[in-house]
Symmetry: C2
Subunit: 362 residues, 2 copies
């Protein structure tokens, strides 16, 4: 084993800020002792840094288990402006996402003044939420919604002082039940990250705002956890992609390049995933079905499909398919290689967007 | 022709407020003399009113040509909570969407005071934007973005006083080039509609906010059009669905039910569209490809696919396919009917979500 040689470490950019979920995904995929982990502001910044070579790798969110695809990331892979032609996926990471409602102590119920023991900022983070009987969490059935879903989380105190909520747009869709039960009709402001939401609430002198954010952000910004685990589903998980520039390592890369990804030599096709985008001639009967059929022909299981506007003509689309298997480098007769060759004859255009090790435990 | 009998007109609900793009779509599909057109606040309100029978029909946005699907609408069709089991699509409407930047007169350049002739509120809406030389619209190429896109619209004055932007989330994605050129980094607040955005700007005493909204909203709220046609693509179009309750008219409905939809008797399969959702056994190799293949078997062209999380298990999906053709009522041997019968044997579950007349001119 070599000691640190003192040479600059390769840079990995991620959608920041520090302590964001993407940062957690980056720490999951990269040893911080071997890489310089650099937060950037937008998903496009991550793509641009990797395309330009400023960064060795980048980490971006791709989809959430409750809320679906991250369309900003899909659009960067669609690359309608040909800005990121060499970006491919080379790894993935799954991070459990627990959302909390963060606010000021004075947003608690007047008759139940905040005490130190009831606060969860600073070192008390992780001590658990004290449930108060102030809100029953009961949800009234109506004629239009006879069986409303009941949130599993309950607020630690009165939330009636909260006049404004801050969060990342993805978070609203992951916490619908709690927010519709306890904070229905409260104004919502989208911000660039859940960490930024917490910062804005911390800076709000009125104390009438709250953030849907993480328990880490509560600690960083000195906010109180007003409710913990407010996501609709307990298994709420976000999936992240590690991206790299295609030209860099193309031949003979039989193992994952990241230290934290295991590199076993013998792996079945099911242990790899591949992302492919393609466009079709929409006027041609069956061209979508034909394009999808080529993967089945070679025994490749399609695990997901996404579509985005093609950018060329209205109501034409670019399709993204993900499948189990990998494109072999330097070998013509791998099943993915053969499927892509066949795809070429039935679709209008296609692009291989990377093959990587499956990290989803089944 | 019968005169108005005085009996209550059937109600059509639409995603409001009045003068919203969905309202325009509703006026496109329904004669306001024959129906009571009622704005409601959310897309779910439209579904609920039709499911409960309060409304005869409802109108909801489904997808935008630049920005893709409306996931809120897809999730209501996915209906994971079994609240809207009888809702089907019975019509569609396409509305050209021209976005404008609306603001206060005092957000113009200090050296070029606003004059009546330069304002576009009130009756002067439609008189065209006066282009000033204050902003060149030049976009600086960088190493990461060597060929930046240039917006086609130019602001009528200085926008440097604008500190905050309001709009509907869909609008940001349709006006990326203009906003990134002239208003990069300005704080954005999502609101429920572009009309609401204009209202909030009109109420803002600082004059430092602006809305991405419509020229109609400028007139209603007395705002100035600071830039017109700021969408990325001149053919920016939103597609709307007319929904109805399934039980109501099921047999023998060979024509469209709305007065404004043409009802020719002889129409090919290409003159109709059908929406189907289905779920698959993700562990079963090829089940997605098999499910899609049934449509091709009967010569049905798939025109789009959408996916949303299944809500049952993480990384499982509900698929939405749209195809040319229609499910025949009371007839077993129509191609869509036969495809759905075959689908039953290869997918886990499926649902017919309606067949309607194609209104897209080709």
């Amino acid at each position: 084993m070599l000691e640190d040689s003192g040479s600059p470490k390769p840079v990995v950019t991620f959608l920041g800020p520090v302590a964001s979920y993407t940062h957690q995904a980056t720490l999951d995929a990269f040893n911080s002792s071997d890489f310089t982990l650099t937060p950037v502001i937008t998903i496009e910044d991550v793509f641009a840094s990797v395309q330009s070579g400023t960064a060795h790798r980048g980490v971006v969110p791709f989809e959430n288990s409750s809320n679906g695809s991250v369309v900003f990331t899909l659009d960067l892979f669609a690359d309608l402006q040909h800005k990121y032609p060499e970006i491919i996926v080379c790894g993935e990471s799954y991070i459990a996402v627990q959302h909390c409602l963060l606010g000021h102590p004075n947003s608690r119920h007047a008759s139940q003044p905040s005490s130190v023991s009831e606060r969860f900022g600073g070192s008390r983070v992780g001590s658990g939420v004290i449930e108060s009987p102030l809100s029953s969490g009961a949800v009234t059935p109506t004629s239009t919604i006879p069986n409303p879903q009941k949130p599993t989380a309950r607020p630690a105190g009165d939330l009636s002082k909260i006049k404004k909520l801050y969060s990342h747009p993805q978070a609203w869709g992951q916490c619908k039940i709690f927010l519709n039960t306890y904070l229905k009709g409260v104004e919502r402001q989208d911000v660039s990250s859940t960490s930024r939401a917490a910062q804005l609430v911390a800076e709000d002198p009125t104390g009438e705002s709250a953030a849907v954010s993480s328990v880490i952000a509560a600690r960083i910004h000195g906010l109180e956890v007003l409710a913990r685990g407010i996501e609709d589903r307990g298994d709420n998980t976000t999936r992240f992609f590690v991206i790299r520039k295609r030209a860099e390592v193309e031949v003979g890369e039989t193992k994952s390049v990241e230290g934290k990804q295991s590199g076993k030599d013998e792996r079945g096709e099911g242990d790899w995933k591949t992302l492919v985008s393609f466009t079709i001639d929409h006027a041609n009967l069956g061209s979508l079905a034909h394009s999808l059929a080529v993967f089945e022909k070679y025994g490749l299981n399609l695990t997901s499909i996404n579509t985005r506007p093609s950018g060329v003509e209205n109501w034409n689309y670019i399709f993204f398919v993900e499948l189990k298997g990998r494109k072999e480098e330097g070998i013509e007769d791998g099943p993915v290689n053969k499927a892509l060759k066949d795809l070429d004859s039935v679709c209008r255009s296609w692009r291989w967007l990377g093959s990587w090790e499956n990290r989803l435990a089944r």
